[in-house]
Symmetry: C2
Subunit: 457 residues, 2 copies
């Protein structure tokens, strides 16, 4: 009943698909965030559901922790094997298994990334819309209930996963959901596993909802003198029912960072970046409606275009923003926060956060998916200044308290992992204990991604 | 530890809000379906969450079954107290507690019906879109994961419940979800309870997502010579991305029944009834696109209109359909089936079902929400002809098998209740046992709506 005996049995079963090399352990002990490196005891590369089944049987028998690894893009330490044991790397289970164009769905393995999927879908006229920014694995995106820039129009992973194949802690394989577009048949097991962060079972196959590539796309950009005016414009857009596909906010510091990073010429003011998807007439009509609203609300320089080259320049601003922000402070590392509140509290939440950061010793540009009430401050810290990590954590802590005070959630899209574990009781109260009860019944030995999401025994 | 001792304690607590009168028991022992009347031992009318808490404490202590009762419109026997005990009638917990127009949400008690909510919302410019036909209670709709005519555009109850207040079996009160529009914070407890049919906890409050009343609505109707052509037209509509808000099918027998019932003059052919929601330009554009598609696919008499009076005539056909069908066979009762398949299999599923009914001794008009792949046969039987119930059950059984064979679900929207319990193993395999495990941990004494949804101990 030890990790060592499990690894012996796993080594016999997996051969060279189990590694204990220093470089493999180190690669799977890193995260994109501020958590300390925590290498697993071994890394396994399953190639089939049957491999995962046998791995789970062995690990369950010996009580060896198993932590799934997708593309390693999590920001909350989800994929770190903090209790040791096995890192289960899905990079070899990355096939697009089936496309059903007539049903607008596809069946994929968990290691496939969203960019790979969309590349493979290009000729079909369909696409998978959920876009968290990073080129994450689809299994990881489901496990963390990812969302992102297009959620305001297409929903989160909870809305775009139709069904799952799951290997349970004891190796049993179950299927959740069907390829029908809706069902009232029993507990919604698909949505129980989506967002469960690998703590209830291992995703080995996903059926995803696809959408038609829009006939036309228009994109628009505009600047505001003040953060508050930009946020008010987002709120008015959502409330007036203008059907944006994306409505992204970046602040003045982000615009400046992008200018410095990629020789841009954006006004160094808060911006909104907006996209519409639909027929040529619809996107023209909606773009014009938004233009009028922006004018009314004091926005400047509103222009919209359906030309791909104009759109690309605009989205480059959004997509390089993170790297530009990182580069804006030499040698800095990022602590990325993730707050989501009801739209009515958004302006207040952003303004309080801005003032709080301004009063702190560290810079923290703000950007986000304002149409969902969700934004991030990218807090930039120097490793050799220990006060700065403390300042970042304190700012993040106050953002979480702000979210809860305003009726929001401690994480809009990055998940719990380790980073938000301490806030689960405050957000969920007794419902958190219930999550622990459900975990206990599905994983009585506690081997599935221990140290995350549920109350720790 | 008996129902009798529980009722004694409940009587002390509730006074005249507990009834054992024959008429009250009979009223709560009926269903809209073919199940035998099964009166509970008593009916309670809670008025607050605290009432429900105390009721559950008493019932849990004494092992007394509790079955929630909303508006009694379930078609699968959900609200029948088949193991006796208490029927918990929510008609006095029917308040609209809060409207947040700026956040597009409302907080309601479970006994409020969807028509009452929409009446109260009228002046706000908002509405709650889920429309299962019946004027069901919102608590019941959440408990059964209801959907209906507008699901193709606005989703099911799973998509439109943001959060719940739940009283657990032991009387603990939890809250799930927040008023933020998305969250990645832990297991999706809201969606675990939505569709759990009162077997995991009692819903005492719901936060619902509202939508802006569309600026313009257009409605269209057209007829087809054959069922297959009508279904093909629905499939083409969905696949071409035309944004219908409703796309309903009725067959020739339904059109004939409506003509007879309300002196209509519909062609006695299969029809599609379609609605678009949006700006005046959008609904005009989409209606025209659909008109072209209908022409291409051999539809006849396509006309569309944005005039409320034209729309009302059209939707009268859909809304009176059930009663018209019932009246079309004198003295008949309905056995309502509920099948949902991937869109690509829809034509085949409808055609096989039609042929199967034609070869049976009973009539069974077909109608449904074809845009979701979901349809119903309304099987008409005479009580004094026992062969007919058997024939209806056999037809329903073959519809279920057909759904599973085609990758669909045994219930698109009516839920499991008692009617689909025998098919859960076939649809879910080992995942059904898991549902039982979750039930067991949340309701160890099995007092919450026993006899429904999960494996029976």
């Amino acid at each position: 009943m030890t990790i060592a005996t499990a690894l012996e049995a796993l080594s016999t079963f997996l051969g060279d698909r189990l590694s204990r090399s220093k470089s493999d352990l180190a690669a799977h002990g890193q995260s994109e965030s501020y958590f300390l490196p925590t290498p697993p005891d071994a890394v396994a590369w399953p190639e089939t559901t049957e491999d995962v089944t046998e791995i789970m049987r062995i690990c369950n028998e010996h009580g060896c922790p198993v932590t799934p690894w997708g593309a390693g893009t999590s920001l909350e330490g989800h994929a770190l094997a903090v209790r040791g044991g096995l890192s289960l790397d899905f990079s070899r289970m990355n096939a697009l298994l089936e496309i059903h164009p007539e049903d607008l769905d596809a069946v994929v393995q968990p290691g496939l990334t969203r960019e790979e999927l969309n590349r493979d879908l290009r000729a079909t006229g369909l696409f998978f819309p959920v876009d968290p920014g990073a080129n994450a694995s689809l299994g990881g995106m489901a496990a963390t209930r990812a969302s992102g820039t297009t959620t305001v129009r297409y929903g989160t992973m909870a809305d775009n996963v139709l069904g799952l194949q799951i290997v349970l802690a004891d190796g049993r394989v179950i299927r959740t959901g069907t390829r029908a577009r809706k069902s009232a048949s029993g507990y919604d097991m698909t949505r129980l596993f989506v967002g469960s962060e690998g703590t209830l079972g291992i995703i080995t196959e996903l059926t995803l909802r696809l959408h038609g590539q829009p006939e036309a796309i228009s994109a628009a950009i505009c600047a505001f003198d003040e953060i508050g005016a930009a946020v008010d414009c987002v709120i008015a857009t959502i409330q007036s029912g203008i059907k944006v596909a994306r409505i992204e906010f970046v602040d003045a510091a982000t615009a400046a960072a992008v200018n410095a990073y990629s020789a841009g010429s954006f006004a160094e003011k808060p911006h909104l970046l907006i996209e519409f998807h639909g027929s040529p007439q619809t996107v023209a009509e909606e773009s014009q409606r938004l233009g009028e609203l922006v004018d009314d609300m004091g926005g400047e320089g509103f222009r919209w275009s359906t030309k791909p080259e104009d759109r690309s320049a605009l989205w480059e601003m959004r997509h390089t923003a993170y790297w530009a922000i990182l580069a804006s402070r030499k040698g800095a590392r990022a602590v990325v926060t993730d707050l989501c509140v009801p739209i009515s509290r958004l302006a207040e939440a952003v303004e309080e956060t801005r003032a709080d950061i301004a009063a702190s010793p560290i810079p923290g540009p703000i950007l986000g998916h304002m149409g969902d009430g969700n934004f991030h401050a990218i807090l930039l810290i120097h490793d050799d200044a220990p006060d700065e990590l403390a300042a970042a954590k304190a700012l993040s802590h106050r953002m979480v308290e702000r979210a809860l005070r305003m009726g929001g959630t401690v994480t809009g899209e990055h998940g719990v992992g380790m980073g938000k574990l301490d806030y689960m009781q405050a957000e969920h109260g007794d419902a958190w204990a219930l999550m622990g009860d459900i975990k206990q019944v599905l994983d009585p030995k506690g081997i599935l991604n221990p140290g995350k999401l549920v109350p720790q025994l």
